[in-house]
């Protein structure tokens, strides 16, 4: 194609700078909407997956409540029911079935407690875990050590912060300390949402203390199976179900990996949905490009007639208008791409509190998609006006006033 048409396209954009800038602005907004939504969605997935990955590959076994396979009783409320327990016999079956993977029996309840003399009662979850299994739960401590005596306990970071608890602090368990006191030996790092133990606002005591305090019938609220690396959690889940639910369904088994996968799929759907909403603004921008290209063609009918009469081919006239749409599209999309990184940075910082997930391949893909879509929309919206210009009858175009 002849360079002069590229030059004419550039000069026409400069001549109608305001109009061209407004059209570019539409594309900028469209690209920012698409790319920043993509960046935010990817950052959220990265953020959530990091916090959830800390639970490792677990299979959670909880008593079957008749309500279908839920997320298990791992929620912070310690959703166990007095009537729904896993018997020790069942636990032994699970333990044998999943060996060499570790099966950890967990007791849990909610109880009143207080920290310090005269302080108000608080309610928190209390877990009872055999001390030998605590390292297997991968509880990372920010301070202190794992407790190995029934008089000690670990507390979650949120519990510690809210109640000004430090290593060495004593917690009076039950109303008026009816269950005695526990000394805090360590504070567990924030774990966020997790499948097994939600420790952030909880006290992790020993199984011995728990059973001596709340009684024991050799029953547990849940069993956490830590699946070793290289083994399939789905396979472990199947083994447990086959072993325990042979006749009646007595346990619900939650595969953390499958649940995570479904969570990611949901995030992916949400990201696609919000990106599609961003795409609407791109369509609007495309309409404005179409509009200014049609205006450009209508204003230059006579010029097109002269060009055609002195020997300009149809494809050359077409290229002139395509160049114009392409310049607007490329500049608008690149500016939009840069701004979307800034917008993604700002939104990630505000909504997720961190920008560490911004500089990833998926961000580059989101920005590339936004920029690419912007350019494609501009070219697509420039094609019809360009085609119309190229196919004007030169005689009619010459007579146009």
């Amino acid at each position: 194609m002849t360079a002069i048409f590229w030059e004419i396209a550039k000069r026409n954009i400069r001549l109608h700078m305001l109009r061209s800038t407004l059209a570019m602005l539409g594309i900028v907004i469209g690209v920012v909407a698409i790319a920043s939504m993509g960046i935010l969605g990817n950052s959220m997935v990265a953020s959530v997956s990091e916090s959830l990955n800390s639970v490792g590959d677990s299979v959670i076994v909880s008593p079957y409540s008749g309500g279908g396979d839920g997320m298990g009783p791992g929620g912070g409320g310690g959703g166990s029911s007095a009537n729904l327990k896993i018997t020790d016999q069942n636990y032994q079956q699970i333990k044998r079935a999943v060996a060499p993977n570790v099966a950890i029996p967990v007791l849990s309840t909610s109880e009143r407690m207080s920290v310090g003399v005269g302080s108000d009662d608080i309610v928190a979850t209390i877990y009872g875990v055999d001390t030998q299994y605590i390292p297997d739960l991968s509880l990372v401590l920010t301070s202190g050590v794992y407790n190995n005596a029934d008089s000690g306990c670990l507390v979650g970071s949120e519990f510690a912060t809210d109640n000004n608890v430090k290593v060495g602090s004593r917690i009076s368990m039950g109303s008026d300390g009816q269950y005695g006191t526990l000394r805090v030996t360590g504070i567990i790092e924030e774990r966020g949402m997790s499948f097994d133990l939600s420790t952030d606002n909880a006290v992790v005591a020993t199984q011995g203390w728990y059973e001596s305090t709340f009684g024991s019938n050799d029953e547990y609220d849940q069993v956490v199976v830590k699946v070793k690396e290289g083994q399939d959690t789905a396979e472990v889940k199947k083994i447990i179900e086959k072993q325990l639910n042979r006749r009646d369904k007595i346990v619900s088994v939650t595969d953390s990996k499958a649940t995570l996968d479904s969570l990611y799929a949901t995030f992916g759907t949400i990201t696609t949905f919000v990106t599609a909403i961003g795409g609407i603004s791109m369509i609007v921008a495309g309409v404005s490009i179409f509009n200014i290209m049609m205006m450009s063609v209508n204003e230059r009918i006579k010029e097109i007639g002269i060009m055609r009469s002195i020997g300009t081919q149809k494809k050359e006239v077409m290229s002139m208008f395509i160049y114009e749409a392409a310049i607007i599209g490329v500049i608008g999309s690149i500016v939009g791409g840069i701004l979307s990184i800034l917008a993604g940075y700002a939104v990630s910082a505000l909504m997720l509190g961190t920008t560490e997930y911004l500089w990833t391949i998926s961000t580059a893909i989101s920005v590339s998609e936004g920029v690419g879509f912007g350019i494609v929309i501009c070219l697509a919206c420039g094609i019809y006006p360009a085609w119309q210009a190229a196919n004007l009858n030169p005689i009619d175009a010459l007579r146009h006033e």
Partner: protein, 221 residues
């Protein structure tokens, strides 16, 4: 030698909803190389249709038009466009320069369409039409009507066409400037250019060697 343009029994009919309009009715004539011809006639006589056919912007309904012996009837749009670019120079009443391009670029435009730019050639034709050199980098809107028409003449000459087609070249100029443009045409004709001028103005026709009069789509004399 083949005539530059030859019309043989050319009929041009425009089909309209209200009925067909015969703009040219069995026209035959030839333009020989080096001729300076005026085409005159009242409004609606078929002058503009004749010009569009001579300029290969349209094809006849019947009859044959040949450019330097080559019939245009079966030519594609691409071929006709190339023919206009290489063999025909157009000069319009309203100059019709490109406002986004400067004078040198306007003149070089048909050359660029052929794929090459020779700035020296552009300057040469601008000198031939007697345009001041300091105006070469100006835009058309910075020039007077007469200067713009000189640039239009220069543009029409840049690809060394077989023929110059002029549509009322002085129609938008004052009489003095119009006369200077016609003097320029005369000089170009003396140097060998074949020129056809469509005009209402008998003073313009006086510069030419032959006048073809069109009345009701037919050649009157």
């Amino acid at each position: 030698m083949e005539p530059v343009i030859q019309f043989e029994d050319v009929v041009k009919i425009y089909p309209l909803k209200s009925g067909d309009v015969t703009a040219l009715n069995h026209i035959s004539f030839a333009v020989e190389r080096g001729e300076f011809i005026s085409i005159m006639g009242p409004s609606g006589s078929g002058k503009s249709t004749l010009l569009t056919l001579m300029g290969c912007l349209d094809k006849p309904t019947f009859g044959t038009i040949s450019m330097s012996g080559i019939p245009i009837r079966d030519m594609s749009d691409v071929e006709l466009t190339s023919l206009r670019r290489d063999r025909i120079g157009f000069i319009f009443q309203y100059f019709n320069l490109f406002p986004l391009l400067n004078i040198i670029e306007n003149v070089s435009f048909p050359q660029m369409l052929k794929g090459g730019v020779n700035v020296e050639k552009a300057k040469e034709v601008l000198r031939a039409v007697q345009l001041d050199e300091h105006l070469y980098t100006h835009t058309p809107l910075e020039l007077s009507g007469g200067q713009q028409q000189r640039v239009a003449v220069a543009r029409s000459l840049i690809n060394d066409p077989d023929i110059l087609l002029c549509d009322e070249p002085t129609g938008n100029l004052d009489s003095k400037t119009g006369a200077s443009i016609m003097e320029l045409m005369t000089q170009l004709n003396k140097k060998g250019a074949t020129i056809i001028v469509v005009t209402h103005d008998p003073n313009v026709a006086n510069y030419t060697n032959r006048t073809i009069r069109i009345i009701d789509g037919r050649i009157a004399a």
